[in-house]
Symmetry: C4
Subunit: 236 residues, 4 copies
Amino acid sequence: MTTIDRLRETVCRANLELAQSGLVFGTFGNLSAVDREAGVFAIKPSGVPYADLTPAHIVTVSLETGAVVEGSLRPSSDTPTHLELYRAFGCGAIVHTHSEFATMFAQANLPIRCMGTTHADYFRGDIPVTRSLTQAEVARDYERNTGLVIVETFRTRGLSPDEMPAVLVVNHASFAWAADCARAIEHAQVLELVARMDWRTRAMTTSGTLPARPDEFLIDKHFLRKHGPGATYGQR
Amino acid sequence: MTTIDRLRETVCRANLELAQSGLVFGTFGNLSAVDREAGVFAIKPSGVPYADLTPAHIVTVSLETGAVVEGSLRPSSDTPTHLELYRAFGCGAIVHTHSEFATMFAQANLPIRCMGTTHADYFRGDIPVTRSLTQAEVARDYERNTGLVIVETFRTRGLSPDEMPAVLVVNHASFAWAADCARAIEHAQVLELVARMDWRTRAMTTSGTLPARPDEFLIDKHFLRKHGPGATYGQR
Amino acid sequence: MTTIDRLRETVCRANLELAQSGLVFGTFGNLSAVDREAGVFAIKPSGVPYADLTPAHIVTVSLETGAVVEGSLRPSSDTPTHLELYRAFGCGAIVHTHSEFATMFAQANLPIRCMGTTHADYFRGDIPVTRSLTQAEVARDYERNTGLVIVETFRTRGLSPDEMPAVLVVNHASFAWAADCARAIEHAQVLELVARMDWRTRAMTTSGTLPARPDEFLIDKHFLRKHGPGATYGQR
Amino acid sequence: MTTIDRLRETVCRANLELAQSGLVFGTFGNLSAVDREAGVFAIKPSGVPYADLTPAHIVTVSLETGAVVEGSLRPSSDTPTHLELYRAFGCGAIVHTHSEFATMFAQANLPIRCMGTTHADYFRGDIPVTRSLTQAEVARDYERNTGLVIVETFRTRGLSPDEMPAVLVVNHASFAWAADCARAIEHAQVLELVARMDWRTRAMTTSGTLPARPDEFLIDKHFLRKHGPGATYGQR
């Protein structure tokens, strides 16, 4: 079995796991993973029901050219978005879903605010929303421009994709990423969890004034307890 | 097995699928499908628990006269509504449910706004609500008038039932349709999904000003990516 | 097997069904049924986990005296409430639950408004809330006074327990009833359903003005389509 | 089998039960129980998936020194919080979860108001929120200071941990406790239930004025019906 075969198998299995996660409706959503040494990433084909998915359906795409390398089906329509994220960020796997609460924030053009330690354990600050694409950006290379506007969001706001492993694309949905497939799915799940909690905070606010975010030192405490060289959480 | 037998079997199976979809409470809801060549549609009987349903229970109704053709049970009380929709629209199957979020919009007399690409992948714009029926329309031929007011809604607003395959009947519930049973159920499910997301957007709005809809070119991009001659989604 | 044995078996089975309905948390909630000829009703014992319940645990209580007739356990603490309802109303079975949405309306001292046909198919108008009990009424015969204040609510507002088979007890929870156990559970379920839908309507109202109720002739049309001598719904 | 072995087995089983309760996401959350005679409490290890947990993983900690007594893994990062609660309160078991509704109130810095009898059956009044920790308290001995600020909350407000067996830690999450593991989990579940109901009350309030709490004599009636020497609920 080649490295690429293994990658396709991993990506197939992870897409099936994603389908079981409750984050996905119908054929919405997709997951990819990259082999940077081989210069390719593997991704779900477009519009194929999760129930029918086998490793042979998984398509591999060149990181350099964006062209299909292996696979007889058409890759996910969101493939050019994944490509631009792999080019700009150092992640190993990317998950795209229309999970309901995160999508709803994307539709309302609102960041998911960092309101507590649950959020700070995974995301160091508010989860950002991209700007809208222009008519020209939608008309031509729409999916590629979606990737580029995500990268632009991180660059212009000085965000690190390692400390902020998710983004909302305005009026569309979310992308999340991580070093590997399991953690990318976990990030997509926590993204939905914190979106749900921030939504509930907003929904119960009757005064027009949202509760304040916690002190930054509390956010940093929790993020750094789990991430980076000073992490103390778990069995090390 | 005659064509009509097959139609009844299909409609029975699809009603059972609908009962499993989470969109239906108790005996609320019904699904029908049409055989335009034979000039009949087949529909669930009135008030029969889904658990007991067999193809023999399914009633067929003449498109021309509205009279029962085959079946010893009384057809769904909503049969005259289905009849008027088949007469006016070109669809192949119709689903009626009281799914909670869509019904709640019908009760609040509010359209389900098109707030993002999840909605635009299925419905090209806001999902409309009919006007209220008059006392005379309720008193006599209530169910038929429900169908007529749906058709009126589409005609007066210049909506295409192919681009807008669902409607809210004010203070009542929803109807959705498609070329076949599976897609009619899918439309009813997405209708509920987008109703839930628009509800959440409204529920979290504390300022009194709802977020704006996306640009029309984004809605068109997504609708036309999946529908019509220029569609690129899936394996073609 | 005596009539009373059968009643205890029926009530045991229906309490287990209630426990499976999603309306009940822990040991909250109880169901009773009456045999008016025998002059007794049968009810769940107090604080016994549903998992352990057998017909032998079910307690029978005299309609005339309120005293235990058969059963070695103490009856539900809400027994005097059931007693007063059986004395005043003609129902055959009563369900008490703390189902979340109905309870929340009771806590907010708000009726569940009749906003559409789903509600009107079961309840002819708004579902009422009782007044608060006085300190004296809470201090002595609290559970009996809970029954009396329900009866007072129906009498002073001219409501028929047949057309309005449920009530909210302010700051407490709900009671629902019907001719038999299965329909009493169904009423408790629809009560929760319409509470959830009215709550959602309120939660999404940003303007401070709730949507209007439907025309009364629409409510009557739906209630009378399913109830009374002119009913046309189902197989008759 | 020693007393301590049994304690570890009990705590392992209860942590698995907690994982099944719906209150826990991923590895968030932990449960401990104390053996006051032996002077130790047993707690879940840090960051170990619930699926892998065995009694051998459970760590025991000295009540006097806070040091690990038995177990080769690192105890939960929240161990110093549990320690301070065991020192100050007389409880036998403690549950920490990020259950969503309770956590959302902690994030919004709002108490869970006692709005009805469901709440009053378990908690005698509003469930309090701690003050924020200072930067110094977060920087050093963060988890121990979390325990101390809980104890401070109860002391300064004159609350009894027996009558109020739960607390919200601001911007973080909740702790609940009881005489034993099963009841501590039950308290965590009811905490989530009443948080959900109070949230819903807030979310549907459109006027800016929340509904009033019930009379104190009703709250006392229900709390004392189930707790203390005058309790009448259940089989006694």
